[in-house]
Every structure is written in C-alpha cells, then in structure tokens.
C-alpha cells in the first residue's frame, strides 16, 4: 500500500499560509501590546505546525527554516528569552520569506535560498548567543538536550525523508536520558554489540502500566516478531484472588528471545514503557546456562508458557479489553469540507487564488436542513398534484408559499458558502501600517472594526488592492507628521480605522483617518489647472472631493514611493465600480477624512429595480439608484440643443432617455411628467428616463459575453420569473457615454467660440 502524499500538499500550503497570517497578526499584536502567553503560544504553534507538516511532506527547506524559528520561540515560550523588537522584526521577515517559499512550492518552482539563508543565520546567531547564558543559569541538562537535539536535527536535514533514522535518533536521545534514571538498569557494556544468540529480558512493569494503555501482551507480541520467544511469568506479587484489581499489573516476566536483532531493536519495543518498568536486557551468550535463569524463584512456572494461556495475565488483559470494547454506534462526523470551485483555474493561477473554500460545518448543516425541507415540500406538492381537486387549492397555495420560503432560504444559504469574513482582507493592514509608519516616521494606530462582516469571496479578492491603496493614501496624505500634529494640538499618534458593516444589501467598508482632511479649494484649483473642470465652475464640496477620482488627478505634492506609484485613485474607483460598488468621501479640513466603499454582498445576485421602456424591461442595480422622481417641467433645462439637464437640489443631472440611448420604441418620449431614475456612478449622476417603474427584486446575474459579446450600456442579463430575458443596465457605462458626449459638445462649443 502506498499513499500519495501529494494529495495533501494543497491543504498544507493553504493552512501554512493561514498559519503565517495568524503568526504575523500575533507578532504585530505582541509588538504593540507586549507579549502574553497566549500570543506566544499562537506564534509557536504556527511555526510548529508548519515544521511538522513540511517534514512529513518532504519540504526540507521549510523544515530547516521553521526549525530555527521554533527553537527560538520555544525558548521564548519557556521564558528563557525575551521577545525583543529585534526578534519580532526577524520573525516578521521570516513570515514573508516562508510565504514566498510556500508560494513557490505551490507553483512547483525551485526554491531560492538567497532570502532564507541569511535569516536562518540570523536566528542561529541569536540562538548561539544564548547558550552561554544558559550554562550560567545552571540549566546544563536542558542545554545538553538541546545540543543533542541539534545534532539529531542536523541529520534530519541531511536525510529528512528517511523518517526511521530520525526516529532512531530521537530514540538514542531517549536512551541517553534514561541512563540517568535509576529505574532502568541498562547494561551499557554490551550496548550495541551484536548478539548471535539473543537476549534475556527481565521485565518488571510498574503496577499502573495498564493505565497508559500499554499492555504487556502487546510488547510480547512484538518481541515474538523478532525471533523465537518464550516467557515466564512471575506471580509472587499477586495478591489473593479477592483483592485482585483489574487496574494493576502485578506480574513480572522473564523473557527469552532467540534472535539476531540488536539490543536497540529490543529496547525500541519497550520505548514507550521505559519509565513505567524496570528493564534488564542481557545477551543470552553472557549467561553460561542459556535459557531461563535457574535462580528464578518460581521453578514450577519454568515451562515456557504460551502467552495466551497465562492465566493471571489473562485476567488483566481481558478485563482491560472488555472495558474498552464498548462498541457503540459511532456518530458519523463530517469534519472537513473543501468545496472546489467549478471553474477551471487559469493555467498559471496566481498563488493567492486558492481553488478551494473552507466552509464551516454550520453552513453545510444549514444547507442540508434546508434541502431536507425542500424535499418535504416537493413531495407534498407532487402528492397534491397527483389527484388534485379544487378543494385542495388552499393547501396548494400553502405549499407554494412554503416552496418560495424554502427556495429563498436555500439561496441565502448557498450564498453564505461563498462568504468569508472581511478579516481576510483586513489582516494585511496591521503589518502594512507598521511598515509604512516606520518608513514615513509617522505614528499611526490601526483600529479594526467589524472584521467578522461577511463578504463574497470574489469581491474580497478584488477589493484587496483598492483598500490597500486607500489605506496607503490615508497614511501618506491623511495622517500628518508628528510635529505637525503636535503643532495642531492633536495627539502625536494618528489613528486609522477600518470599519466594515452591513447596510441594506451592501457591505460598507470605511477607511477613516484623523489626519489633515481634504482641502476642497486646493482640489478645485488643481482640477481647474488640469482642465478637468471649467474655470468658472462652482461645485458642491462632495463633487469637488469626487474630482480626486478623475483620471490624471494626483494631489500629492511629492509623489512618494508609498502612494502615487502610478496607480491613481481613478483606478481605485474603477475597480470598485466594476465590482458593482461605489465610493464616497467625507472630509473635514483639519479633522480627517472617511472613504466609504459600498460593495455588493455577492457578485452572483443583484438587487434590482425593474423598469419598463416600451415593451422592454430593464434592471437598474438598486445600489446605484439615488432616487426616482416624476419630472417637474420647470426643473428641466435644455442645453446645447439636444442635452437636457434636470435640477436636483444643487446638482444638474443630465437626462438620458433610454429609448434614445438604446434605439428602441418607448411609450413616453416627452420629458414632461416622465419618470426619471437618478443613478450615480463614478462620482457622477444621470437621470434615466423610463416609461414605468416596476417591482424591485433580486436577480441572478447572467453573462452576455459567454455567447455573444459585451454590449455598451449593459452589464449583463437575467431571467425573469416568466422565463424571459431582461438586460441589466451598466450605470457606469451609461454615465461614461453621456459624459463623453457632453465633452464632445463642450469641445465643439469651444470650437465655435474660437472661430
């Protein structure tokens, strides 16, 4: 039988990366709040698990690396060493390095040791610096143990695949230790000398040996596998039958083993019970009268007795087995679920996009329950359908109601499977903020709230980079240098808080800083300078803030290497929009800024407003709707011939008649008393002229691109209750289209002026 270890690699990689994340979090926590036992244990456990797994699966480079980490952490755990800031830094670097190594392994790439070697050396330097201290502190035995450990691990490095040899190493180690124990008298003179004949073993177990699950009969069975085996039991210590207990083993044995096996082989069998017995192993050849010692007290019991027939022993063993042989129905336990994504992974998928989701048992259980209910409803309905009579109409509508409920709950549950707590995206920030604060010399505290807010895995994967960008910006542009803060009467340490929460059908992520805030006049001046807005334009504050997201806008006076590395805020907004989300800015000069990112809970389903234009029904994503209103003619202004603006409080919203945009027939082509759905995207509002507002409902998003191609103004399609197809409007696209047209208009006007 062979087990292909490769099948466990992916799980190992995933959990190791998770372990590194956990370690990093704990290290950062230790760095800012000091060390407590629990976090040290957490850090240790992570290193330890990775070491254990990598050793088992044969990733020796990882094992070597984690070994030095573990050794150091073990000392910290045993309070022999402090976790200094320097050590934390080294451990953090190691996390990065290990992450890189694991990702390389995931991609089946050769490991590059240029990064790991100096780190290992750094660990060793710290560790060696310590050994003198240890001797000083009279902990010599411990030190010996450690150094012999080191040798065993050195061999492990040389030949980690051969686990037997490692086992033997540790076994040797055990021997060296047990020498000092008085209970075991090992004949050292003969250790290791091959015996041609075999061994005589005097085995006196301590009475409680059975209580660790070690049964002498099992040891004998193993010995019997080494050669010809005979045993003599000594019953002199047995009490009277009435005071016999099943817990105690009061027998002892003299065993004879005719074998070529070495003394080590014999001792290995007793490995686990070394400290629970007195054991004497002497070569048979040494004793002139081979066989059982004549001087043994129990002459009558001298005959070699088959183990199974040994009466006294039988009492013990049988009762022991009887206790544990309570064979009950074992409850089936489903423990690990790994739900594979159905879509095939791209050839060289990036290391971060792991192909599986780990799903909590509770989620799967709730699915199973719901499916159970669905089956009941289904059988109820089909029974009803088999012989339907009008009287049963009530039951039918009840059943359909139930079906609706089941379907809804099932849908929610299935969606929950793809949901992960946003902490997965938040986790990288403590480290990032620490590094950035170091780099900029600013003092920043990070506060995370609502980390358990769940969000679709795909949304999470795609929101990471925009969030990083926003956080970087907050440190770089938001939080002031220490002197400036103090001068303004603020705390030396700035605060950035990340908050996630549900609001309606959305997840809102807030990136909030208590920095200098955004100066609207500066932004406006700059936008005018860059020609992004008309020189005379007067804009509301929120419109001005939105200018930050315009392509080609960058506020940083100096482009630092933290933010402003080519990727602008326009990309941030585009990424968020492409996820079906939007971003808002609130800012108070001198007090700080808040960037609010609104994200859909999932990409598979959308909350939509159904609108009708002529005979067509379109879906407007609810998230982008500002409001729907009946047009008041006096608020409509015609500009530039064919562009109509609607005055919505301080905004002038361009009116886009969908029938014109899409070239279809509509009932109402007049603006007067028409219905306007005001939508917002990419910082701009437009009003969609429709014939009718229908229901709001959740729709499942279907691709048009799969079988056709991208359609301007349409982001996808869905299937309505009657089976017909309805197109989902691409609000961002419609807005872009509208603004392109208006800028063309503006250009041609300028042209006219110039002429």
């Amino acid at each position: 039988m062979t087990i292909d270890l490769e099948q466990f690699y992916e799980v190992f990689f995933e959990e190791s990366l998770e372990g590194l994340d956990v370690m990093e979090q704990a290290l950062l926590g230790a760095s800012s709040n000091g060390v407590d036992d629990e976090s040290i244990n957490t850090i240790f456990r992570a290193a330890h698990s990775i070491k254990g797994g990598s050793g088992t699966f044969g990733f020796n480079e990882i094992t070597d690396f984690t070994h030095v980490m573990e050794t150091l952490l073990d000392e910290v755990r045993d309070a022999k060493r402090d976790l200094t800031e320097e050590t934390i830094e080294l451990l953090l670097k190691s996390c990065d390095c290990l992450r890189g190594m694991i990702e390389s392994l995931q991609l089946k790439k050769e490991l590059d040791s240029t990064e790991s070697t100096p780190l290992i050396a750094a660990f060793e330097a710290i560790l060696n610096g310590k050994s003198d201290k240890l001797i000083d502190s009279n902990n010599k035995i411990q030190n010996d143990t450690n150094s012999s450990l080191d040798t065993s691990d050195a061999e492990q490095t040389a030949d980690a695949v051969d686990s037997d040899s490692i086992l033997k190493d540790s076994f040797d180690l055990l021997l060296t230790d047990t020498v000092t124990k008085p209970s075991v008298a090992v004949d050292d003179v003969n250790a290791g000398t091959p015996s041609s004949k075999g061994w005589r073993i005097r085995f006196i177990p301590e009475p409680q040996i059975l209580l660790t699950g070690n049964e002498p009969i099992r040891l004998f069975r193993e010995l019997a596998e080494l050669g010809e085996f005979t045993s003599v039991a000594h019953t002199e210590n047995l009490p009277g039958f009435d005071s016999l207990t099943v817990d105690e083993c009061l027998l002892s044995w003299t065993l004879q083993l005719l074998t070529d096996a070495s003394k080590e082989d014999v001792l290995e069998i007793f490995d686990w019970v070394m400290d629970e017995c007195s054991l004497e192993v002497t070569p048979l050849g040494d004793v002139p009268d081979t066989g059982i010692d004549k001087s043994e007290a129990e002459r009558p019991a001298l005959d070699s007795i088959d183990l199974e027939q040994e009466p006294a022993e039988l009492v013990n063993i049988e009762s022991a087995s009887a206790v544990r042989a309570v064979d009950e129905e074992e409850k089936a336990a489903v423990v690990t679920q790994s739900i594979k994504k159905t879509e095939p992974e791209a050839g060289s998928a990036s290391a971060t996009s792991t192909g599986s989701i780990r799903v909590g048992i509770d989620k799967v259980d709730s699915l199973i329950n719901l499916v159970g209910e669905l089956v009941i409803t289904q059988s109820m309905l089909s029974e009803l359908g088999n012989n339907f009579e009008v009287e049963k109409l009530d039951r039918l509508s009840m059943g359909l109601e139930q079906l609706l409920q089941n379907t809804k709950e099932l849908q929610e549950s299935v969606m929950r499977i793809r949901m992960l707590p946003i902490s997965f995206a938040f986790n990288r920030f403590p480290r990032m903020i620490r590094d950035l604060a170091n780099k900029t010399g600013k003092k920043v505290e990070l506060i995370l709230n609502g980390e358990n807010t769940e969000i679709d895995k795909t949304v999470m994967e795609q929101i990471g980079d925009p969030l990083v960008h926003l956080v970087r910006n907050a440190i770089d542009h938001g939080i002031e240098p220490v002197e400036e803060r103090l001068a303004n009467g603020k705390l030396e340490q700035g605060t950035i808080s990340l908050n996630a929460y549900h609001q309606g059908g959305n997840v809102v992520v807030e990136i909030k800083d208590d920095g200098r805030g955004i100066d609207a006049s500066v932004i406006l001046a700059k936008a005018k300078e860059k020609g992004l807005v008309d020189g005379a334009a007067e804009l509301s504050e929120s419109r001005i803030f939105d200018l930050i997201f315009e392509p080609g806008f960058s506020t940083a006076a100096v482009v630092s290497d933290i933010s402003g590395r080519g990727v602008g805020m326009d990309v941030v907004r585009r990424n968020i929009n492409s996820l079906g989300g939007r971003i808002e800015i609130e800012s108070k000069l001198g007090k700080g800024s808040t960037f609010k990112v609104f994200l859909p809970l999932t990409l598979a389903i959308l909350d939509g407003q159904l609108v009708r234009v002529g005979s067509e029904i379109y879906i407007v994503p609810l998230i982008s709707i500002v409001e729907s209103l009946q047009i008041k003619p006096e608020l409509v202004n015609q500009v530039g011939g064919n562009m109509a603006l609607y005055r919505l409080r301080e905004d002038n919203v361009p009116i886009i008649p969908i029938y014109k945009e899409f070239g279809i027939e509509a009932e109402n082509t007049q603006l007067e008393d028409g219905l306007l759905v005001v939508v917002e995207g990419e910082g701009q509002k437009i009003g969609l002229l429709v014939d009718d507002l229908l229901a709001q409902q959740q729709v499942v998003i279907k691709s048009l691109v799969n079988n056709y191609r991208k359609v301007e103004g349409v982001s996808g399609a869905t299937i309505l209750g009657d089976g017909s197809v309805s197109l989902i409007l691409d609000v961002g696209g419609l807005i872009r289209h509208a603004s392109e047209r208006s800028s063309k208009l503006r250009r041609s006007k300028k042209h006219i002026k110039a002429a």
């Binding site: 067509e616 899409f662 799969n706 056709y708 191609r709 301007e712 399609a717 197809v725 197109l727």
Partner: protein, 174 residues
Amino acid sequence: MDIQSLAQTIPVEGEISLDGLDFISHGDEYLTFCLGEEHYGVEILAVKEIRCWETPTLIPNSPSYVKGVINIRGIIIPIIDLRIRFGVGEVVYEPTTVVIVLNVETEAVNRMMGFVVDAVSDVLSADEESIKPAPNFGGNIPSELVAGLINMDESVVTLLVTEQLLTLEEDSHD
C-alpha cells in the same frame, strides 16, 4: 436531443422524416434548412435543438440581424436571423419560422447561438467526395463561412462552417 419530439414538432418541408436517424454517426451528416429559396446545411452534431420562433429580448444598438437574446434553460443565447445576415428570403416571422440552436465547444470557440431560418428540411448524409469546393461567392456570405457545396436533386446545398458561424458576431464587429 429527443428525436421523436423533434420529428413531430419541427415543421418539415416535404415528406422527409427524421426517423431512424443515427445521431452518433460519423459527423458527415448535415441538417439542411431553407432561407427563402436557398438550401443550407450545418453539421448535425452541432445542432443542440430546434425551437419555434419566440420574440427575443432586444439588444440595444445591435446589427439588424441580431434579433436579441433568449433564455435556454438558464443560458442566455443570442438569436441571429440568417436571412437578414445573408440577405436572402423574406424576413417574416410565421408559425413555421424556426430557430436552430447550434452549440460548439472547441478550444477556440465555446458558445451557443440560435439561428432563425425559414424551415428545416432534411438530414443529409454526405461523404467527402460529394462535397464540392465552393466558388468564390460574390454575395453576402463571407467565403470562410462556406465549407463546400453538395448537389441534391436539382438544387444545391451550401454547407456552413459551424465554428465560423458562431464567431461571426465578433468578426463582423469591433
């Protein structure tokens, strides 16, 4: 595909029956159909199903021959009117008007589309020798769409390349 129901529900021109059709055969069988007076054929293995005409959902600003999209068991597919595309026949939607749904899954193409035709006529077996190379069409049909010609009684059947037919949308745009 359910051959029985197919045979019953499709309006078939003439007296040709689809009974005894071997769908698991060699791939040199063609489903022929009419566009006006002209006969065309597509590989039968690419035919997913044949449906009656139903009004699709319009796709804004699409070419006139793209009639819109419909839902086939949860998949959204576009409907192309080949009569408009090829400029043949009269564009009317009658109860006999059918949509042939073609599905191709190769490395290059993996898509499904519906094509509006006047009627399905026959299943044609053709070995390679009987397929004649097509002369260079001057008409509306791009030459890469044509696999060849087959003579059938007095008329000629133009065999279309399914993969090309399904990529037609991308090629003729952008």
